[in-house]
C-alpha cells in the first residue's frame, strides 16, 4: 500500500526538524524514490517548457479528454486571468494553455466543474461580478487548445457548476446567482431553465444573517444516477432531482446531514457513483459523507473522515472511496472509506516526490481527485505554484 509510504514521510516533507539520529535515514529514503507516483510542476518559472503564470495558476477543475488532462484555473491574484490548459498525460508535461482574456469578459471565473464530452471536447462555464456567464467548449484535439463560447444560458446569470449526461447529449448546470437548474441540449443549442431550485426568501434571509461567503450556499456539484436522473442541492441543504425524461424538477424532501445550526449554507460538495448503484456525496460545511439510494430515496449519513469540513472530491477504486476533505487552514487530507466493510481511514496530507526539485513536497491545497483510465489517480492543487500529482492507490 504505497500510500502509507507517502503518509509516513509526510512529517519529513512538512519540514520537521529532523532529529539527529534520523538524518541519515531520511537521506537514504530520498534517494531513488521517483517511481510512478510523482508530482509534475505547472507554474514554477523555468528556462525551458511552458508554465502557467504565477498568480493565475490555481487549479479549479480538471477532466480527462483523450490523451490530455484539461484544466481551468481561478487566479489567486486579481490582476491575473483564469487559464485553460491541457496536460499531456503520457509525456507528463504541460502542453499549452490559453487565458480568459481571449473571451473578452473581464471579471468572470470558471465554473466549479469541468466535464468531458465527445470527440475530445470539454465543457465548463463562467460566472462572477454580476455579469452574464457563458458556456465554454474546450477543444483539446488540435494544434493548440481552443476555446469557444456557446453563449449564455440566461441574462445576468453565470454558470456555477456543470455535469454531463451519460449519453453526452445534455449538459446540466446551476446558474449563479439564482441557483436555478438548467439542461442544455447540445444538438439544439438551447437550454431549459428550471427555477424550482432557486433559493427562496427564507433561505436568502438565513444566508444573509450568517454573513456567509457569496458562493457558499450554491450547489457546487451535480450527481447523476444510473438511470440518468440528476441530483443537486438547494437552500437549507435540501436535495432536488431532475428527471430528464419527464423534464421536471422534483424536490426530494431530503436534507443533507449537518451539525445543528449549521444548515443555512450546507450544500453538496462532491458526488461519486458507487458500483452498487448508490450515489455517494460529500457535504460542504461539516464534511459528512452520505449515501443516497436513487430507488428508495433513502439517505444515510456515513459520518465524517475527520474534523474538517468540505468533503470536496472523491473517486472509487475497488469498492473503496478515496477522497479529499478539508479546506484552507484545515489542510485537505486524503481519506478512504470501504464500501463493503464501512469505516474511514484518514491517510493524511499528500506528500509526494517532485522530480523537478528532486525531493518530496506536501500539497497543502489539494483540490480534486480524478481517476485515470490507466488505474492511477491525479490530484490537482488550488495553490500559487500548483502541480498535478499522479498516484497509484
Amino acid at each position: 500500500m504505497n500510500i502509507m509510504n507517502h503518509i509516513a514521510c509526510g512529517a519529513l516533507a512538512l519540514g520537521l526538524t529532523v532529529p539527529v539520529a534520523a538524518a541519515s535515514k531520511s537521506e537514504q529514503y530520498f534517494k531513488g524514490v521517483f517511481g510512478q507516483d510523482s508530482a509534475v510542476d505547472l507554474a514554477h518559472p523555468k528556462k525551458e517548457g511552458k508554465t502557467l503564470p504565477v498568480g493565475g495558476a490555481n487549479i479549479r477543475a480538471i477532466v480527462q479528454t483523450g490523451k490530455y488532462i484539461v484544466g481551468v484555473t481561478a487566479p489567486q491574484y486579481p490582476n491575473k486571468s483564469p487559464c485553460i490548459f491541457r496536460f499531456d498525460v503520457q509525456k507528463g508535461a504541460l502542453e499549452d494553455f490559453t487565458d480568459f482574456n481571449t473571451l473578452k469578459k473581464p471579471g468572470v471565473v470558471p465554473s466549479h466543474a469541468l466535464v468531458a464530452g465527445d470527440s475530445g471536447l470539454a465543457y465548463a462555464g463562467t460566472f462572477g461580478n454580476g455579469q452574464t456567464g457563458e458556456l465554454l467548449e474546450i477543444n483539446s484535439t488540435g494544434a493548440a487548445v481552443a476555446v469557444k463560447t456557446l453563449g449564455k444560458i440566461r441574462d445576468k446569470e453565470g454558470v456555477f457548476t456543470v455535469a454531463i449526461s451519460p449519453d453526452k447529449k445534455t449538459l446540466y448546470g446551476i446558474l449563479y446567482p439564482s441557483n436555478a437548474f438548467f439542461a442544455y441540449d447540445f444538438a439544439k443549442r438551447t437550454a431549459a431553465v428550471f427555477d424550482e431550485t432557486v433559493f427562496d426568501a427564507v433561505t436568502r434571509d438565513m444566508i444573509s444573517q450568517v454573513h456567509s461567503g457569496e458562493e457558499e450556499p450554491y450547489c457546487k456539484a451535480l450527481g447523476i444516477d444510473v438511470s440518468g436522473k440528476v441530483y443537486g442541492s438547494t437552500g437549507q441543504g435540501m436535495l432536488f432531482r431532475f428527471d430528464p425524461v419527464a423534464k421536471k424538477i422534483e424536490m426530494l424532501n431530503l436534507q443533507l446531514p449537518y451539525i445543528p445550526w449549521r444548515v443555512h449554507t450546507n450544500r453538496v460538495e462532491s458526488w461519486v457513483n458507487g458500483p452498487d448503484g448508490m450515489l455517494y456525496g460529500g457535504t460542504s460545511i461539516d464534511g459528512f459523507l452520505f449515501k443516497l439510494d436513487p430507488k428508495t430515496l433513502m439517505l444515510v449519513n456515513l459520518g465524517k473522515p475527520n474534523s474538517a469540513g468540505n468533503l470536496k472530491s472523491m473517486v472509487i477504486i475497488d469498492n473503496t472511496i478515496y477522497g479529499l476533505v478539508g479546506e484552507g487552514a484545515h489542510f485537505p487530507q486524503m481519506f478512504s472509506y470501504n464500501l463493503k466493510s464501512g469505516g474511514f481511514d484518514v491517510l493524511g496530507l499528500i506528500s509526494i516526490s517532485i522530480p523537478m526539485a528532486r525531493t518530496r513536497y506536501t500539497a497543502y491545497a489539494a483540490k480534486s481527485i480524478l481517476r485515470l483510465p490507466d488505474g492511477r489517480v491525479v490530484i490537482s492543487e488550488e495553490d500559487l505554484l500548483p502541480s498535478l500529482i499522479f498516484m497509484k492507490l
Binding site: 519540514g15 539520529a21 538524518a23 528556462k47 474534523s307 526539485a357 500539497a363 505554484l385
Partner: protein, 406 residues
C-alpha cells in the same frame, strides 16, 4: 558565577587564534531569571536607536521571554513575556520566536513573529484543538511594552519576518505552508501572496533598501518579491551547489545572511557561502565564496549543513560564523568559529568549543555600532531538556574581531 565558569571553560578549549584575535575578543552572557529557558532560534535583533540587543528566549513549550542586552552598559535584563505582554489567553500558547527581531527605523519598535514549535503543532495538525497560529508582535526597547498585532495565518506559525522600511509593511513566512504574508502597518491589512515552497519552510527572508524581499523556492532558486510591482521574480537557476547535492538539502535553500554595504552574503543549507548584490529592479548577481570550510580530506557533501544558521560581516569586512548544530559538525561534537575574507575566500578557524560550551548559534548580521557581533547561542546543558531539540541552554555570544571585550 555561571557566566564566569562558562567563559573560563570556553577559553580552556580555545584551539587557535589568528590575526591578533585572542580569547578576549569573545564574551558569553547568560539570561537571568528564567529557570526553564531552553533555546533561542534566530530570535535576536539589534536596536540601533536604543543601542540594545533584543533576544527572545523560550522554553520551547509555552513560555517566551524578551531579554535586553544594553550594549553600552553591558547588562542583560529580562523585560517582558510574550504571553503576558501580548495579553494572550492560555489557548493561544506560543512556544518560541523563530523570526529575527527586526527594528522598524520609523517607530523604533522591534518586530517579530511567534511560533508553535514544530512537533506540538503538527501533532495537533487536525484541529480544532491545536495551535491557534502565530502572532505578529512588537516590543518597545524604551518602555519595555510588548504588543500583539494580530495573527498571520490561522493555525500556522510565523517562521520568518522582515520589514519593508519604505512602505511600512511586515513580510512574514507562515509555517508549514510557506505562504508569503504582507502585513501593512498603516492599514493593518494582511495579504496572503500564496505558498512559495512546499518542500520546506526556508528559514531566511531578507530585504534590500528598496523594500524588496528575498526567499527561495523548493528548487533552491532565489525568489524576489518586487515590492513596487507587487509580484514575484523567480531566478531561473538554483543558488550554486554541487551536482551531487541532493534535492532535499537544496529545498531548504538559504540559512543565514549578512551584509557589507551593497553586498549581501548568504549561507546555504549545503554549506556554501555566496555573495549577492540586490538591484532595485530584477535579480542581482550571485557570486561563490566557496564552502564554509574547505577540507580536501572530506567529500564535498559530507558537511550537509552549517547545522545552525548564523552569519555576520564585521566592520573589518570579514565574515564570521559558527559551524555546528542539529547533529552536523565539522569535528565530533565540536562547534567551530570561522573567519572568512570574502575577497580572498580564505577561511580561518578562530575557536573550537565542545558542544557543552557552544552547541549551535543563530542570528544574521546582528552587529552594534561598536562593531560587536552578537549570536543567540545554545549549549548542551546535559540535564536540562524542554520541548523539541533535546537538552539545551541558551546564552548570548558577543564577538569583536578588532578589539577585546571587557
Amino acid at each position: 558565577m555561571l557566566r564566569m565558569r562558562t567563559l573560563v571553560l570556553g577559553l580552556l578549549v580555545l584551539w587557535a587564534t589568528s590575526f591578533g584575535i585572542s580569547p578576549g575578543n569573545l564574551k558569553f552572557v547568560e539570561y537571568p531569571g528564567f529557570d526553564e529557558k531552553h533555546s533561542t532560534w534566530g530570535s535576536i535583533g539589534y536596536s540601533a536607536k536604543y543601542d540594545k540587543v533584543i533576544i527572545g528566549v523560550c522554553n520551547h513549550i509555552n513560555k517566551v521571554a524578551i531579554y535586553e542586552y544594553d550594549c553600552a552598559k553591558g547588562t542583560m535584563s529580562l523585560r517582558n513575556w510574550v504571553a503576558k505582554g501580548g495579553h494572550l489567553q492560555p489557548f493561544q500558547w506560543q512556544a518560541k520566536i523563530h523570526t529575527p527581531i527586526v527594528e522598524n527605523k520609523k517607530d523604533g519598535w522591534m518586530y517579530f513573529g511567534t511560533d508553535a514549535g514544530e512537533s506540538k503543532a503538527e501533532y495537533y495538525m487536525d484541529h480544532p484543538d491545536g495551535y491557534v497560529g502565530g502572532f505578529f508582535m512588537r516590543y518597545n526597547p524604551k518602555t519595555f511594552e510588548l504588543e500583539a498585532l494580530g495573527q498571520g495565518l490561522k493555525q500556522q506559525s510565523l517562521k520568518e519576518l522582515q520589514i519593508d522600511q519604505i512602505r511600512q509593511r511586515l513580510y512574514g513566512i507562515a509555517y508549514p505552508s510557506a505562504h508569503f504574508l504582507i502585513k501593512d502597518l498603516k492599514s493593518d491589512s494582511l495579504y496572503d501572496k500564496g505558498g512559495l515552497n512546499k518542500g520546506h519552510v526556508s528559514r531566511v527572508l531578507f530585504t534590500d533598501d528598496w523594500g524588496n524581499a528575498y526567499y527561495n523556492d523548493i528548487r533552491g532558486h532565489l525568489v524576489k518579491y518586487q515590492a513596487d510591482a507587487d509580484s514575484f521574480i523567480f531566478a531561473l537557476d538554483s543558488l550554486p551547489h554541487y551536482p551531487t547535492t541532493e534535492g532535499w538539502i537544496i529545498r531548504t535553500g538559504m540559512r543565514a545572511w549578512a551584509r557589507d554595504k551593497d553586498t549581501y552574503f548568504i549561507m546555504t543549507h549545503w554549506g556554501r557561502l555566496l555573495s549577492f548584490i540586490p538591484q532595485e529592479k530584477g535579480l542581482g548577481p550571485v557570486g561563490n565564496i566557496g564552502d564554509l570550510w574547505e577540507d580536501p580530506s572530506r567529500s564535498v557533501d559530507s558537511v550537509i549543513s552549517a547545522g545552525a544558521p548564523n552569519l555576520a560581516c564585521g566592520a573589518n569586512h570579514k565574515l564570521y560564523y559558527w559551524v555546528g548544530g542539529h547533529g552536523h559538525y565539522l569535528l565530533p561534537d565540536t562547534a567551530v568559529f570561522i573567519e572568512c575574507d570574502p575577497k580572498t575566500k580564505n577561511k580561518t578557524i578562530l575557536y573550537k568549543f565542545p558542544i557543552k560550551t557552544v552547541m549551535e548559534c543563530t542570528g544574521s548580521q546582528i552587529v552594534d555600532k561598536r562593531g560587536n557581533i552578537y549570536f543567540a547561542a545554545r549549549r548542551n546543558a546535559g540535564t536540562r531538556s524542554y520541548g523539541e531539540s533535546g537538552t539545551s541552554e541558551p546564552f548570548l555570544i558577543i564577538f569583536n574581531p578588532q578589539k577585546e571585550l571587557k
